[in-house]
């Protein structure tokens, strides 16, 4: 990660609409107007993005999907999903204060 101390949170004014009958959620990104469909796995990642650090996210995501996935497999899914969501302005990286009120920084998620 290019933000070793960064935290991940949903972008401001993001709109999330669960569509459980289709096992997805719809997300609207006002910052760069677009509508996205997230499958349930990506949706879990999104819901966990509440200002946590990467390490905390990895732990929380693994606990959400264990024992069906190993820590390594869960981490891979998480990174793929985070990269995609940052690129689409669904999630943003903020300095690692742990606070959801922190200001966002520009950057990208590296492998």
């Amino acid at each position: 990660m290019s933000f070793p101390n960064g935290c991940f949170r949903k972008t401001r004014r993001l709109r999330i609409r669960p569509v459980p009958e289709r096992e997805v959620c719809l997300v609207y990104t006002p910052k760069s107007p677009n509508l996205y469909t997230l499958n349930a796995t990506a949706w879990v990642v999104l819901e966990l993005c509440d200002g946590r650090s990467l390490a905390s996210l990895q732990k929380a995501f693994h606990s959400a999907v264990e024992p069906l996935m190993s820590e390594r497999e869960a981490a891979e899914y998480l990174l793929v999903s985070l990269r995609d969501m940052i690129e689409k302005s669904i999630v943003e990286v903020v300095p690692g204060t742990g606070s959801q009120r922190a200001r966002p920084q520009k950057g990208r998620v590296a492998t």
């Binding site: 499958n39 349930a40 990506a42 949706w43 879990v44 819901e47 995609d84």
Partner: protein, 200 residues
Amino acid sequence: MTSGNNLDLAQRLALRRGTPAAPAITEVATEIRSNSVIAIPPPGPDGLKYVIGVAVIEWAFRVPHHRIRAFNAFLADNEALIADACEKLMRGVHYRGTYMTTHGERVEYRTYWAYDSHDAQKQWEIGLAKAGSNFTKALRHLRSYWLGDPNGTHRHFAPGALFAKDPGGAFFGFTLETAEQMEGGGAAAKPGRRRKPARK
């Protein structure tokens, strides 16, 4: 629904089918549906030279009696400017005047705009480019009277002859076919048709 509840729901759905699927985010392609809108077909090259316009727009609005003198004075001072500016600044956009209509004591105004084509309406982006121009100021003033009437209307007209070949888009064509089938006793359902009462 709280975020905590959302997480529980998402987790339950992610595990529902065993090992979670790879995360996937797909963009939803949005589309504008126009089922209830009649699409205006373009006219042929030599057609409809007699009409006011291929598209005509009418603003209808009432003006309070205490503002009627002022409004009529405004029209006298500004209509020629508006009309000439339309011709000079835009292609295919014509101001055709604002008319006072009377129904007894009720006074209503109607403003008419004519367009040489449906696309000519895009010319307003050019015509209104200068916010401080005399034309824009006059037009804003005129439009403010329309805005001042909460019951004001804005109607679009198109010559009926344009729809002889193309009925106005697929959905309106479908609507007409359904109506014709109903009238002709075709295969479609016949809701609303009166049955003759049985003789006793």
